[in-house]
Amino acid sequence: MSISATQNTPKRKDSEGHAEHTRSGGTLVIITLMIGLLIGMGASLFYTWRVSPRVLTDTRPDQLSTTARIDYLIALSLAYAADQRLEAAASRLSDMNASWQEIADAACDLSRGGYASTNTGQLAIRAMVRLAESQGVRNCASSFIPAPTALPTDIPTEQPPTATRVPPPTKTAVPTLGVTYTPEPELPTPTPVPVGEYAVNVISFCDPNASGVLEIFVQAPDSAGLPAVAVEISDGINRDTIYTGLKPDRDPGYVDYEMGEDTEYTVGLRDARATERTRPLSAIACNVPNGGTARAGFRIFFKRVLE
């Protein structure tokens, strides 16, 4: 019995040692597994975030790069210039997480670069400045926009005839004294504006006798002038409406308009739908063919297209 007792003791010790060994071995395996997990995860996160990130193609405007933000700001400002819907512009600006100040700053940067050297670029910068200024934000580009020039105010006003003394009756006819009042040419009778499409054709000219003048002709398909058609002239801020036919000696469908300096105008027909406006026109300085300088004028033809 004592022998068996002495034999059992090391056996028990062996099994305890083996169990302990197995326990510590299992812990070591788990620790190794965890280390492997961490290393593997770290390596693959480095790979997916740094080496080969998955490019999201469904980004929002607030994730745009600096250059792309400016392109987006230009587009939204011009869209505002087209529809004058401030809430739409504000909503788009909100999508970008941008402020009104950012538009003004972008306009300022653009006005200092080559972008401002083209008419289209200037239009975009002006649109940005106007949008920013609509919220009271001004900066360097605000001076880039010329103040709207006053429209020609020298419209001839009719002088009231002065009272003249009645001459004493004589046998000889006495010529009438004072200002003779000639009746104004009769205004063309308003005729319904033909609805339809007009083709626009713009020809520039340089003539000191018609310096900075827009000569507008509205024509039927057979080139006959159409009187009493409302022509809308816009300088981006103000819109003026003038009517054809006030100079019937020139053409029944003719009307002209004197452009201010440093201002761009677009011309369109107010009531005729489906008719495009002209490109922006400005009375820049030009050289007269026979010498001298003048301001550019434009002959604009709106010719109705047969449908």
């Binding site: 593997g40 469904d58 987006y72």
Partner: protein, 124 residues
């Protein structure tokens, strides 16, 4: 020793897979310097409308084309046509926006029959 090595390899594999899942699917990189071409489709459409509206202001077809090229579409002309036709067929936008798109598309040479009724009125 073999068990340890096996545990390490299994850990690396599992960790690697989990990391790929996290990095590419669950938490992909949010790029903040994204070009216009990566915008989500609704914003791309809105950008196209804005360009069409801008075109009504400056009447510069070349600029409109250049602005649309930023979208990274193969053919900007057919892109405008497609957006306009989709807007017309799905009525997803205001009539005013459709008119802007139609005006630009027609000036780009793609004036399709569905556009005609929006063309009569021209761009607002």
């Amino acid at each position: 020793m073999r068990r340890l090595l096996l545990a390490l390899v299994v850990g690396l594999l599992l960790g690697g897979l989990f990391g790929l899942l996290l990095g590419w699917i669950a938490f992909p990189v949010q790029l903040i310097d994204s070009p216009v071409q990566n915008l989500a489709d609704p914003f791309k459409d809105d950008y196209t409308v804005m360009v069409a509206m801008a075109y009504q202001v400056d009447k510069d077809l070349k600029y409109a084309e250049n602005r649309l090229r930023l979208l990274g579409v193969g053919n900007v002309f057919t892109h405008v046509r497609d957006v306009a036709e989709r807007y017309i067929s799905q009525s997803v936008s205001s009539e005013e926006n459709i008119r802007y798109l139609v005006a630009l598309s027609c000036d780009m040479g793609y004036c399709t029959p569905p556009m005609q009724s929006f063309r009569v009125g021209g761009a607002p």
